[in-house]
């Protein structure tokens, strides 16, 4: 009698957890891809840890704090490694709605990944999309800073070249003026008057 009851219970459990059953999710692990030589073997102990992590995630949902490890059912474990799981309610007759399980897993995805040394790509929950990390956006885009630096350098260099060109031209123009005025005066007067007119020329030269 007791034996019949046991068979019945396991049969019901088996019905609850089936591929493509209502509220069931498929999980896929890629241990060798993630860990290479350090990949551990997937055995019943690892399955126990998985059930524990799922139960932990469910316990953090309000109204589901009573979830136990035994409420999480695994089935159809393949070589891949992949399997299906469902979470049942305390009565073990019904499975918890998929939406609740989905949100619970999403919120604790990081903890679950870390427990197995895996990440979002190597520990996949099909039909549970993971939240992607947004790229870090600094407040001022980096390129503008570099642009600003280069721009200022070019402007400063241009200004310097233009100003030195103007100064050079002014200097050569007044040098010419000085030469012309000196020649003219020395032609029209003798040495002494040349001194005074040369001095006259001096302040305008900006030498």
């Amino acid at each position: 009698m007791l034996w019949l009851l046991f068979v019945l219970v396991t049969a019901i459990h088996a019905d609850l957890c089936q591929p493509d059953a209502e509220n069931a999710f498929k999980v896929r692990l890629s241990l060798r891809t993630a860990l290479g030589d350090k990949a551990y073997a997937w055995d019943t102990n690892e399955e126990y840890l998985f059930k524990a992590m799922v139960a932990f995630s469910m316990r953090r949902v309000p109204n589901r704090e009573a979830t136990e490890i035994s409420h999480v059912l695994l089935c159809n474990v393949t070589q891949r490694v992949s399997f299906w799981f469902v979470v049942t309610d305390p009565s073990r007759n019904h499975t918890l709605p998929a939406v609740e399980v989905q949100s619970a897993i999403r919120m604790n995805r990081n903890r679950i990944n870390n427990a197995f040394f895996l990440n979002d790509q190597t520990l996949e929950f099909l039909r549970i999309p993971s939240t992607l990390a947004p790229p870090t956006d600094p407040s001022v885009p980096i390129w503008i800073i570099i642009f600003g630096v280069v721009f200022c350098i070019v402007i400063v260099a241009t200004m310097l070249l233009i100003l030195s060109g103007i100064r050079q031209r002014r200097r050569s123009a007044s040098l010419e003026f000085l030469q012309i005025s000196g020649t003219r005066e020395s032609l029209t007067s003798l040495g002494a008057s040349c001194l005074t007119s040369c001095l006259h020329g001096a302040p305008t030269s900006n030498l």
Partner: protein, 551 residues
């Protein structure tokens, strides 16, 4: 007696200026494409023949004219014959067109250069979509590098009719590019002469570094083997010869008046024959050198994509049939596929349509040229290298140097006639004329920063200069040989440099080169007429990849 003409400080500056002008972006992004399309190693045969028959003679002609007349293009041709000043004006106008759109490439190079200082590189990852569950749709359909180029850099509109607004980011980069060019040409040969040391030598340093890196990349040998395996039957293809002639012609930058301008600042006794040979050989060797680098990068990229494709197939099969992780490898893929096909036929036929046929050949065959090569293909290869920021910075810095070097030549072609003219230079100093030219070009160049700007760029790139240059150079050759007189020119050169003119140059100038140019001209004219309405490649977010649209 007019005041002394500014001169190059040493003949080396002149050689570097010519090299910096001739070695430009075309060597890096056009020659490898031509090599791939027209038979790999065997393309070198028409290329070298055209170099000897067309490139060197015409280059020598322009340098000799510039050195003899000691004026920019307008003055030089007016001296040869007063009826020919139009040739000079045509050169200036074509140079003006070129400088309008060419500096936009430098603006894009600046943009990518500034964005290379981030980790991860912005073109290596797709941005997320609205609710952060996946990647942006346009980016998914295309690739992250294409998305960054078409959406983030250009913000391209679906067709040329939809102009859109001026994008402020590329506009800022364009203004910076023009400021840099102004800084380099501000003082004439004095400043240009010093800048060309950098713009001529730095690209070679970077190419050497890239050569070493490229050859050590995984899969580089695939690309090199593919490229250099000669396909001798392409020698019979007339298009190969036409493209070789065209490439030599445009690569040396003939007809723009830049070479005449540069040579006009030479000492009259300068041996320009020697410099001609040096410059043209260096230009062609750089093309070949750059294509070795490009093909090792191609090989790396193709091998990387091929292996990713295989890995995707492996993952697909592993997941569909729940095989053990790591069981399927590249080596046993085929046998396992046939086993699965026989063991689980129904399930296999479901999965079969999604299994892509990965082929290394088809990855290598995607030949790209132009901005697509520089900004999409190369960036895709760079993002997969280690320390990708360093390689990215080096690469875009090299592009910038190549582009600025060519811009210096272009602006010299415009400015030399202007500063030579007594009328203009009496009113305005040299700095003001340069500034005005840069300002006008920058203002017009803002058109290319609009959303449809890249389409305008493509049109200018393909059609602005081709026919005009061929005609200009044809008239130049005929003018010197038959109007001015070959004998008279020969005695001028002998008096100037002290060397007699070799018979080879006389034969080329008199007969072969003009005939070649006439045949090229006829070919292109008929090609345009036959093609009818011009077409361009458009990027439409709804139809990825690119589609051809009519103007």
């Amino acid at each position: 007696m007019d005041e002394a003409r500014p001169l190059w400080a040493t003949p080396l500056q002149f050689v570097f200026a010519c090299i910096s002008y001739a070695v430009g972006l075309g060597n890096v992004w056009r020659f490898p494409y031509l090599c791939q399309m027209y038979g790999g190693g065997s393309f070198l045969v028409p290329y070298i023949i055209m170099l000897a028959v067309e490139g060197m003679p015409l280059l020598y002609l322009e340098l000799a004219v510039g050195q003899r007349m000691r004026q920019g293009s307008i003055g030089a041709w007016r001296t040869i014959s007063p009826y020919l000043s139009g040739v000079g004006v045509a050169s200036v106008v074509v140079s003006f067109f070129l400088s309008m759109y060419y500096n936009v490439i430098n603006a894009w190079a600046f943009w990518y250069l500034f964005h290379s200082f981030q980790d991860p590189l912005p073109w290596s990852v797709c941005p997320l979509n609205g609710n952060r569950t996946g990647y942006d749709e346009e980016c998914e359909k295309a690739s992250s590098t294409q998305y960054f180029w078409y959406r983030k850099t250009l913000n391209i509109s679906p067709s040329i009719q939809e102009s859109g607004a001026v994008q402020w980011e590329p506009a800022l980069c364009l203004i910076l590019a023009w400021l840099l060019v102004y800084l380099c040409i501000l003082r004439g040969t004095e400043s240009t002469g010093k800048v060309v040391y950098f713009t001529a030598l730095l690209p070679y340093c970077v190419l050497m570094i890239y050569l070493v890196r490229g050859l050590t990349l995984h899969g580089a040998t695939n690309g090199l083997a593919y490229m250099f395996t000669p396909k001798v039957e392409q020698l019979a293809n007339p298009k190969a010869w036409i493209n070789a002639a065209t490439q030599i012609f445009f690569s040396l930058g003939l007809g723009f008046g830049s070479l005449i301008a540069f040579a006009s600042y030479n000492e009259p006794s300068n041996d320009c024959q020697k410099h001609t040979v040096i410059v043209s050989i260096i230009n062609s060797s750089t093309s070949i050198f750059a294509s070795v680098v490009t093909f090792s990068i191609y090989g790396f990229k193709a091998t990387f994509n091929y292996e990713s494709c295989l890995n995707k197939v492996i993952l697909l099969l592993t997941n569909s049939f729940d095989l053990e992780d790591g069981f399927l490898t590249v080596s046993n893929l085929e046998e396992v596929k046939s086993y699965l096909a026989s063991a689980y036929p129904s399930k296999y036929s479901e999965v079969f349509p999604q299994i892509k046929n990965c082929s290394l050949e088809s990855e290598l065959e995607t030949a790209v040229q132009g901005t697509g090569l520089a900004f999409i293909v190369y960036t895709e290869a760079i993002k997969n290298m280690e320390v990708s920021q360093l390689w990215s910075v080096l690469y875009f810095f090299m592009l910038l140097m190549l582009g600025i070097g060519s811009m210096l030549g272009n602006t010299a072609a415009i400015l030399t006639p202007l500063t030579d003219s007594k009328v203009i230079s009496s009113y305005l100093p040299k700095e003001a004329i340069s500034g005005l030219v840069c300002l006008v070009n920058c203002a017009i160049g803002l058109v290319f920063t609009m959303e449809a700007g890249n389409y305008w760029f493509d049109i200018f790139n393909d059609y602005a200069a081709t026919l005009s240059l061929l005609l200009i150079v044809l008239v130049e050759t005929v003018a010197v040989c038959y109007l001015y007189g070959l004998r008279r020119f020969e005695s001028d050169l002998k008096a100037m440099t002290g060397h007699a003119l070799n018979w080879y140059w006389k034969a080329m100038w008199g007969g072969v080169s003009p005939l070649l140019i006439i045949s090229l001209f006829v070919f292109y004219l008929s090609d345009y007429i036959i093609t009818g309405t011009l077409q361009y490649q458009a990027w439409d977010a709804s139809q990825i990849p690119t589609v051809r649209k009519r103007l």
